[in-house]
Symmetry: C2
Subunit: 435 residues, 2 copies
Amino acid sequence: MTTSPNPSPDLIRQATITRQSAKKLARTSNQERQQSLLAMAAALEQSMEGIIKGNEIDLKQAENQTLQSSLIARLKLDREKMINAIEGIRQVAALPDPLNHRQLHIELDEDLILERLSTPLGVVGVIFEARPDAVMQIASLAIRSGNGAILKGGREATISNQVILKVLHQGLTYSCTDVSTLHLLTTREESLALLNLESLVDLIIPRGSNQLVRFIKSNTKIPVLGHADGICHLYIDQEANIDQAITIALDSKTQHPSACNAIETLLIHEKIGHVLLPKLIPVFESYNVELRGDPTSCTLGIIKQANENDWSTEYSDLILSVKIVPNINEALAHINKYGSRHTDAIVTDNLTTANLFLDSVDSAGVYLNCSTRFADGFRYGFGAEVGISTQTLPPRGPVGLEGLVTYRYVLRGKGHISSDYISGVRQFTHRSLAV
Amino acid sequence: MTTSPNPSPDLIRQATITRQSAKKLARTSNQERQQSLLAMAAALEQSMEGIIKGNEIDLKQAENQTLQSSLIARLKLDREKMINAIEGIRQVAALPDPLNHRQLHIELDEDLILERLSTPLGVVGVIFEARPDAVMQIASLAIRSGNGAILKGGREATISNQVILKVLHQGLTYSCTDVSTLHLLTTREESLALLNLESLVDLIIPRGSNQLVRFIKSNTKIPVLGHADGICHLYIDQEANIDQAITIALDSKTQHPSACNAIETLLIHEKIGHVLLPKLIPVFESYNVELRGDPTSCTLGIIKQANENDWSTEYSDLILSVKIVPNINEALAHINKYGSRHTDAIVTDNLTTANLFLDSVDSAGVYLNCSTRFADGFRYGFGAEVGISTQTLPPRGPVGLEGLVTYRYVLRGKGHISSDYISGVRQFTHRSLAV
């Protein structure tokens, strides 16, 4: 089934301990979990210098190995990043408790009361590259939501991650959360074996490149929260406000080109192309964006031709493919064919066209007259982002703490048995009660 | 990755048509989808005799092949079953619309409004054994929730399923739903290939034996709604009402022994075993239940000894394993080790013990002083049951129409771009609006 190795007895033992600690954590109060996060934040503050020194060892190693400068930038933990990460933990502590929400409350019959309550998932497995700040963020999200976490960072951040986890453990000793709730894996074999720990790990969260996510999705039966691709589109309708369209296109492409919610393809209605493109091309040139056009848009000023591969490429860079379409249906068909169901937007002043687009595009986010860059848990007001999911089933789109909880049905009776309802001695009332 | 064959061009073409029809259906009104169901019900009523005749051909074939009598009973479609199935479709039509619920409504900033709306999944793949009534039920659930369905029934019901689908298609011609929204596969190769149609099928629903579900789960990357095992426990605490405990145990085991929510194991606190068992044993004997006990319960009157396999066996029959435990923690440990996270119950009059159990058991359903047989979508008041899920992530437990929908984020702006919020020119308001 998978290429992953079988988990070693030691990994199984450790994951079992993490699971038991998580079960204990699941029964703690909101205040206790909040206090655990504050204790971690305080420990990080106290040991900030030590963490930065540990990180410097990783950085030196990375420089010696002449790793990519973008990777080194992500790896680096300076005072500012540490202060932000610690502030982030305090913000997660301040979020509303995701546990023990009563989502349903139904009287099935007199004295037979059904509740649906939010509960933690159990244990999450988190596999990430570079960024050692991810350890702090994930640890706080997991504990806030009553979950254990088994973490595996990139090799280049080994020392940083180990020092951070040691400090987080130190902090947790001043809380009611067992230190074994957070466990760090150190070898690649362990992280591969983690993907086979179906009975002990409930969710895998990959943080890293599309290649990493794709590899993980192909090698585990455990549910994966994440997305391999972010091919987002912006469609500029014939009834668009031209200045607004250019501003939105520019923001969607250039504000953070390597983000998954940046656009890769611009679709333009043929009736507006000859007015829009002569204005848009110089603006995008001034932002160093390389435009790659279909034959029609190349007749309107785009120099470089797009090929078939362009429509399904996530550039993650200052490159944008452009296509002229004869009508909205062709735009919808293009998005349906090449999109990754992440986030797609339309610019139009026509309400009917807008609604047709918003109803027809089968993506996690469908936007009207705004930038695709809003597809983000913080911008949506969730206070945290566990990941962005492009799967069809919930959770979908940007996922906050909600992605780390599930629910349980609790039914309380007074000797109720099913045969009474089958024989007709008793009848269900199915009365909704206040949640 | 899987043993399933690649989908044929014909299957891909057909699934694409079903997906397109489903997209069209997704945009229809509640009334239109209700009318589609009523049109199917009317067509079935009109063609009832023809369906029963078709079913008789399958039945004769099954008798010639001397198939199991329980299978023949499930295969048989008589007038009564048809009337019930048609009534079922009308009930599904009358359920509240699962689509276009506004689950979230947030003002991100002035004129930048985020909604989360429930939407159909797209296309569901349904693989079922015997029961041709499943075609009618699944068809109605799928269309009610705006989804297409690709169905594959057991070989023994080939004619029945084909006749039913033909009649459903006839009905749909009197509605706005395309007939191609419902597609029936006829060969085993096609149903195996269906499991590889990741880009066209959003959810697989298996209806049948544990073996079928296990096979499907191991051979697809498409999410599967279902459960392979239902090993449910009842724990009788030392402070249980003895008569209530026996009544609940009896109902949980015997009311429908082959159901997944029937109990397989009874755990009894050692302090109550010597009083409970001498009363329980004759009652269970009178219901022809074979008890298999651990060594201690065998000293208290149970004749047959249980072996290690018994604790992890779903008998689906009138057999019950019994174990005496020294305390609730041992009961919890047993359930944790052998359970399938389906439904587990406790009988006790002690509230602290009850809450410890309800908080600690990590199953989709945790029950106090009532039968495990209540774990059912109809009994929960959902009006329909798509399946029962034992996975950790939602949807979990009995799943109604909710299991056939997902959601989409719709964001409407007036030229809003992300860089304004990064530069600080604008601030998010994140104001909750009425849902």
